[in-house]
Amino acid sequence: MKIYKYGDNVDTDVIIPARHLNNPDPKALASHCMEDIDEKFASTVEPGDIVVAGANFGCGSSREHAPLALKSCGVKCVIAKSFARIFYRNSINIGFPILECPEAAEAIQPGDTVTVDFKTGVISDETQGKTFQAAPFPAFVDGIIEAGGLLNSLKVRGVAK
């Protein structure tokens, strides 16, 4: 696995530029993911890689294409100091793991080997021998993730038909 590390305010326009929104096929989105901030990302990212970033990750447009593009690239999760709120709920709604943990986002460096336990929110940087505790999701949100996303959770509850 590899770490891709970015700074603060990574906006959804650089995660997936608007010029590519005319084709919402997840594979097409993945092929342009992050190209305006890191043109090598889409060609080098592999399943299981982790994106680490600063504050306000995913700010700007509400385009769900942004977490979808990262998910479709095989990115295992995003660890950031904080997330913009629409990106945060979009990720939950599509079942893409995100972890808010300022300490981990600060400490983890490209080249480190990192493992994540999504159940406990424990992030382990094996290279540095450090562990971090991410903020846990509320039970309500866990329910959405466990059901496989928002729409499935609403179907399970019988409110969506």
Binding site: D11, P17, N56, C59, E64, I86, L151, L154, K161
Partner: protein, 419 residues
Amino acid sequence: MGMTMTQKILAKHAGLASVEAGQLIEAKLDLVLGNDITTPVAITEFDKAGLTQIFDKDKIAIVLDHSVPCKDIKSAQLCAQARAFAQRFDITHFYDVGQMGVEHALIPEKGLAAPGEAIIGADSHTCTYGALGAFSTGVGSTDMAAGMATGLAWFKVPSAIKVTLTGKFTPYVSGKDVILHLIGEIGVDGALYKSLEFAGDGVAQLTMDDRFTIANMAIEAGAKNGIFPVDDQTREYLKGRVDRPWEAVEPDADAVYDQEVVIDLSTLRPTVALPHLPSNTRTVDEVAGLPIQQVVIGSCTNGRLKDLQEAADILKGRKVAKGVRCIVLPATQQIMMDAMAQGLIQTFIEAGCAVSTPTCGPCLGGHMGVLSNGERAVSTTNRNFVGRMGPTDSEIILASPAVAAASAVAGCIADPAKL
């Protein structure tokens, strides 16, 4: 404990006597909105989940505005998908080319947002309707799909920042300067997960169009929503547009705020945001003279009639500078007609502007005004992120219609008072 305006609206829509910041709730929705980029993704998720019913055909709005009139085959296919869905469920408020406008100008104009209502839209600038005293927030496509199916959305109840406005504007200062100044003060995540609740005697000095501009860019401070109190101007705006009952909400006297920001409108200068964040603000005095190649006047932020009037006041009898392209996009068909009746369109064309049918196009680098390498635009839109309007080495400077028009005439960033 007292509640903010936002908390009161959320409590009512969740069927609760009260809520507090941080609480997770499920709220009933009065409107679910989507556009031609986000609706197709919502439809795909809706179908993939095997859903076959919508909650209320009168409470869903689909506006084709981003890539229309369609810029390419793929955009046309997305519009066709949205159109077919609207027909399948007989969606009452479906707006296609010819009727459509930029969604956040169109929805209030058509009376689809009212005080006290709870609205979600799969577009981040859905926060615009807070100008009318509604709770209104941007979400993604899956939330839109869920909203269409159930009429419900989950929310974490936000805490709030109180923004107290005092005083009166000086000439050539408007709502855009208020919100750019505020974002410059608190930062692009200064209101993250929070409401921006506007208050103070300065609110009465703001036209409805100023309030729409301010609420529209709440998201650029990271906010969940921005919201204004309802006053006589709001009531006047709603007359003839909204005939269903609505309820104005006031904050409790003991409502709790995380922070209070006071802005004296009389001290504001025309303000711009330099690349590449809306918080990178300067007064026009600090950056006047910076050369530009394009000006965009329009968008959900500043494409309303007052915006066009302010731009036309400056462009009347003047010419767009050589080497500058000035593109004007009235945000709705009604605004276009009003602007024609007032002679504004003629003023723009005589000045050498291109005038476009309503579209979001240039704001997101879609069409109708994409930049080339190294070019710099002054734009009345809302985001100046890297690559937003063109290649990654192009630049956007956010400004009011008055500063944009003055800059078009001068060929560089210019103070409207000093033309």
